[in-house]
């Protein structure tokens, strides 16, 4: 085994978050930036997302996933970020030593700063505990997206989709366009999990019914899937008696949520956030371990890729600054999520710069305000016409507002 490679900033994961972080780390003055990607190309899940709608915030135009990825791929190449493809990280220590494996062998890397940008995986049938037999024909939505869009493989003719997450909705349209019949989308929650635009563009435009408060209670078929039992669920997620009905299908797609791939972060001992299942970070995207940063979907599941990019660019700049100078502003102010909010990130801030806070509400809200308070005084209030759990709330709070913080505590909450 060769001696460790030394770099200023190492970025783990070459999806949209890692690409943006690596490009900006280099742009912000890190001499050497190494991007580690397990796949044979960078871009991550964007590579299989051939539909458009990416980039409307950053570039003011609707790009396809591969187009969006290509822009950032060019950027890391222009800035001479070193990229290792087909490389998997097998270990990360709190001294920022990374162990990787690829066809060249096993190699270690000593990094000044490490950015964890490993994204998400899909929640599976086993994780949600769907009962029944175990036939072929039960897929996660993202894996079908890969089979269809990357490998040109058709998975079935008659499809039920469980979960109204965005990938599920987009696959409903995609499967319909490829000649399959999408019987319905079932969503266990009382509201859709995907964003409103996708409900119209992917379901309504193709007359695909969406059943809310409905789940798949059983899977049938011994060899290939023959059908599923749908059932309505009550307010406590219990099955409502007498609502079971059999729906014939040969394919079940699961779009039931994303789980941050935090194994490296957890393994190295980073403090985790209960609500996001990602790391706890400050406004420089520092985790609880010095020199280890986190951004993108492994930090919090984003609704729109543009925001993952913007967040990761900041993480890249901060990581470069830390690697080159060993200094970042102290984050002494604690943030907490109050009434109506599941979480607010970052969880600590310095107050020395403006902060883009990200939040998710517990439920759908209309014409309410997001309020930042300290010691009972309002620092910032922003009227929001519409908030929903499927969408992330973003609020910028200017530096000047933090002058009035009392006892280093700020609460974000929803008010009338």
């Amino acid at each position: 085994m060769a001696s460790p490679k030394i770099v200023d900033v190492a970025v783990i994961g070459g999806g949209p978050a890692g690409l943006a972080a690596a490009a900006e780390a280099k742009g912000a003055g890190a001499n050497s930036v190494l991007l580690l990607e397990r796949d044979d190309k960078v871009g991550g899940i964007l590579n299989q997302q051939v539909h458009d709608g990416f980039g409307t915030k950053v570039f003011k135009e609707a790009l396809t996933g591969p187009e969006y990825a290509a822009i950032y791929e060019d950027r890391v190449n222009e800035r001479n970020v070193e990229t290792w493809l087909n490389t998997i990280v097998t270990d990360l220590t709190d001294e920022r030593v990374i162990t990787v494996r690829n066809k060249g062998g096993v190699q270690t890397i000593q990094a000044g700063a490490v950015i964890i940008a490993t994204g998400c995986r899909e929640r599976t049938r086993g994780a949600i505990g769907t009962a029944g037999t175990r036939p072929a024909g039960v897929y996660t939505a993202g894996s079908v997206q890969n089979y269809m869009n990357v490998r040109n493989l058709a998975v079935g003719k008659k499809v039920v989709i469980l979960g109204s997450g965005d990938i599920g909705l987009i696959m409903a349209r995609r499967l319909t366009l490829e000649g399959a019949e999408v019987v319905c989308v079932a969503e266990i929650l009382p509201q859709p999990s995907g964003i409103a635009g996708n409900l119209v563009r992917c379901l309504e435009d193709y007359d695909i019914p969406l059943y809310l408060n409905t789940t798949v209670s059983e899977i049938h078929g011994k060899e290939r899937l023959t059908g599923v039992t749908l059932a309505e669920v009550g307010p406590k997620m219990g099955e409502v008696k007498g609502t079971r009905r059999f729906v014939e299908c040969d394919t079940l797609l699961l779009s039931v949520g994303l789980i941050p791939e935090t194994e490296l972060a957890v393994g190295v001992g980073v403090d985790m956030h209960r609500a996001t299942n990602g790391a706890v970070v400050d406004d420089s995207f520092r985790t609880s371990i010095p020199g280890i940063f986190s951004c993108g979907n492994v930090l919090q599941v984003h609704d729109v890729v543009d925001y993952a990019t913007l967040e990761s660019e900041k993480a890249g700049v901060a990581a470069a600054q830390w690697a080159m100078t060993g200094q970042l502003p102290d984050a002494k102010i604690n943030m907490s999520a109050g009434n109506g909010l599941r979480y607010v990130l970052p969880t600590t801030i310095s107050g020395e710069d403006a902060v883009d806070f990200t939040m998710r509400p517990w439920k759908e809200e209309h014409d309410k305000s997001v309020v930042f308070k300290s010691g009972g005084e309002v620092l910032r209030r922003l009227k929001m016409p519409h908030m929903e759990p499927a969408g992330m709330i973003r609020v910028r709070v200017a530096k000047g507002r933090f002058k009035n913080v009392i006892d280093n505590e700020i609460t974000a909450e929803i008010e009338d």
Binding site: R101, G104, G105, V106, M148, L153, V155
Partner: protein, 501 residues
């Protein structure tokens, strides 16, 4: 024309496969007829993977005889076949004071079967051994072990095949004619002649017995559901944790069992069913498993579950009768020349090596045979880089760069391991065949990421997308390529137009 064999073994579970390997020591023509697309797809692949010591079986029973003998052979057996085996020990835990006398009864049963080193331990000692487990007292069984049941069955069958045994997959037996020395066995594919038959058909062993005119037995399928926990919580226990067996119950009670790969199994339940193939899982039992296990292990949460599965016990006692049902390991007068192995439920995995030796002696008494030079003394099919040191892996990559490509990252399975699994001795190429040989797709993402890459490698090996299955039979995964579908749709539309005219 039918193929002629000295011995036809019906059923490619752990017992049938062990017999096949044992017979491959000799110059005999042997075949295994397995109805599924791979070996180990029934009871043998879906159990707790426990190498039982003999504390649960009454002294003098057939079960006790083969269990105790098998347990002694097991470690070397696994070593010869490169199968994961760990002597982790077992504690049978009395939750309250009232259960403590039951531990003495179990201890006495075990001592009658000469199980060594049994000891009743108190709460404090238990806490020291198993800091996360709650209990008033426990019976410590340090010689109990775990092994990977499907890896063992596959290794037995593959080593037998490499030694000259014909393993015929997708070959359900539909009819048996003839008598000892000249049996004619029908499968949908062919007729097979055999001098002797071994009925190791597990859940179907009563049906096979009836085909040769033996109507003594009926097998009652009894489903056992399990959940598998993430490796993240694998460290919660050190040894197997069992409850005191429920009185008159169909199983040993829901236990907490580590696997050789570092996961934890919760289960099995015990529910009689009419259909031995009905290996569904249910929401009710999933809840029950988590609830019962959390009595011992209060830290468990539903979030720790990766997936669930069911196995099926081939029992010879009904739900009503309950209690103990012994193994049948004998040739009966109605059907000379047929070794009947019926009701081989737990501890069938442990007993398999001993049953195999017994059956081998029975065969050789009738058909004397010399040694087979092709016998595979040891066997190692798919390497496990996940168990290697980094420097060893580095050296291996230098020789074969494909060891540097991780295909399944949850379980750290490399491309070489997947390709070796695809090119297996039995030509079993379903996705599950690859899974059980390489461990790919068994982790927390359940194949979400590596599934497409494995499909690539199957296609590279020469399979068409339409021919790829999850589990053989009609468990297809792809209709074809999207181009094929478009072409089909075009043809369909064209012919509809013609029809309209």
């Amino acid at each position: 024309m039918s193929e002629k064999y000295d011995v036809a073994i019906i059923g490619g579970g752990v017992v049938g496969s062990a017999i096949a390997r044992e017979l491959s020591r000799y110059d005999l023509r042997v075949t295994v007829l397995e109805r599924a697309a791979d070996v180990s797809r029934g009871t043998s692949g879906k159990n707790s993977g426990v190498v039982h010591t003999g504390i649960n079986v009454p002294f003098g029973s057939v079960k006790a005889k083969f269990n105790v003998a098998g347990a002694r052979m097991f470690e070397k057996y696994c070593a010869d076949l490169d199968v994961p085996f760990k002597r982790v020990g077992k504690v049978i835990v009395a939750l309250g004071e009232t259960e403590i006398p039951d531990l003495d009864v179990l201890k006495a049963k075990g001592e009658a079967n000469e199980v060594p080193d049994l000891e009743i331990i108190d709460r404090a000692t238990l806490k020291k051994m198993e800091p996360n487990i709650e209990g008033a007292s426990a019976l410590n069984v340090p010689t109990a072990a775990i092994a990977c049941p499907y890896s063992l069955t596959i290794a037995l069958a593959e080593s037998a095949a490499a030694g000259g045994v014909d393993i015929k997959l997708n070959s359900p037996v539909t009819e048996i004619n003839g008598t000892q020395g000249a049996f004619e066995i029908e499968t949908p594919n062919e007729t097979i002649s055999a001098g002797l038959i071994v009925n190791s058909a597990g859940l179907g062993s009563d049906k096979i017995a009836r085909m040769v005119g033996v109507h003594r037995w009926r097998v009652w399928p009894c489903r056992g559901e399990y959940v598998i926990l993430d490796k993240r919580v694998g460290g919660l226990i050190n040894s197997m944790v069992y409850p005191v067996p429920p009185k008159g119950g169909a199983g040993l009670g829901i236990h907490i069992t580590p696997t050789t790969d570092g996961n934890i199994l919760l289960g099995p339940s015990a529910d009689y069913t009419n259909d031995g193939d009905d290996v569904r899982t249910t929401a009710k039992i999933r809840r029950q498993l988590l609830n019962e296990a959390s009595e011992f292990l209060p830290e468990l949460t539903p979030r720790d579950v990766i997936t669930a599965y069911s196995g099926m016990r081939p029992k010879l006692v009904t739900a009503k009768e309950g209690g103990f049902g012994d193994f049948v390991v004998e040739e009966v007068e109605e059907a000379p020349g047929v070794m009947q192995l019926v009701g081989i439920e737990s501890p069938g995995l442990t007993a398999a090596p001993a049953i195999a030796e017994h059956v081998s002696e029975w065969v050789r008494k009738r058909i004397p045979a010399s040694a087979n030079s092709g016998f595979q003394e040891t066997w190692s099919a798919v390497h496990r880089t996940r168990e290697d040191t980094l420097s060893k892996i580095d050296t291996m990559i230098a020789e074969d760069p494909d060891y540097g490509e991780i295909v399944c990252r949850c379980e750290m399975v490399t491309k070489t391991e997947i390709v070796d699994a695809i090119n297996n001795e039995l030509d079993a190429t379903s996705l599950n065949a690859i899974k059980y040989r390489s461990r790919a797709t068994m982790g927390r993402c359940q194949g979400g990421f590596c599934g497409p890459r494995i499909v690539d490698l199957l296609i590279e090996s020469g399979k068409s997308p339409e021919s790829i299955t999850l589990n053989g039979g009609d468990s297809w995964l792809f209709l074809g390529t999207t181009e094929d579908l478009r072409a089909q749709a075009k043809t369909r539309r064209a012919s509809q137009k013609m029809g309209a005219k």
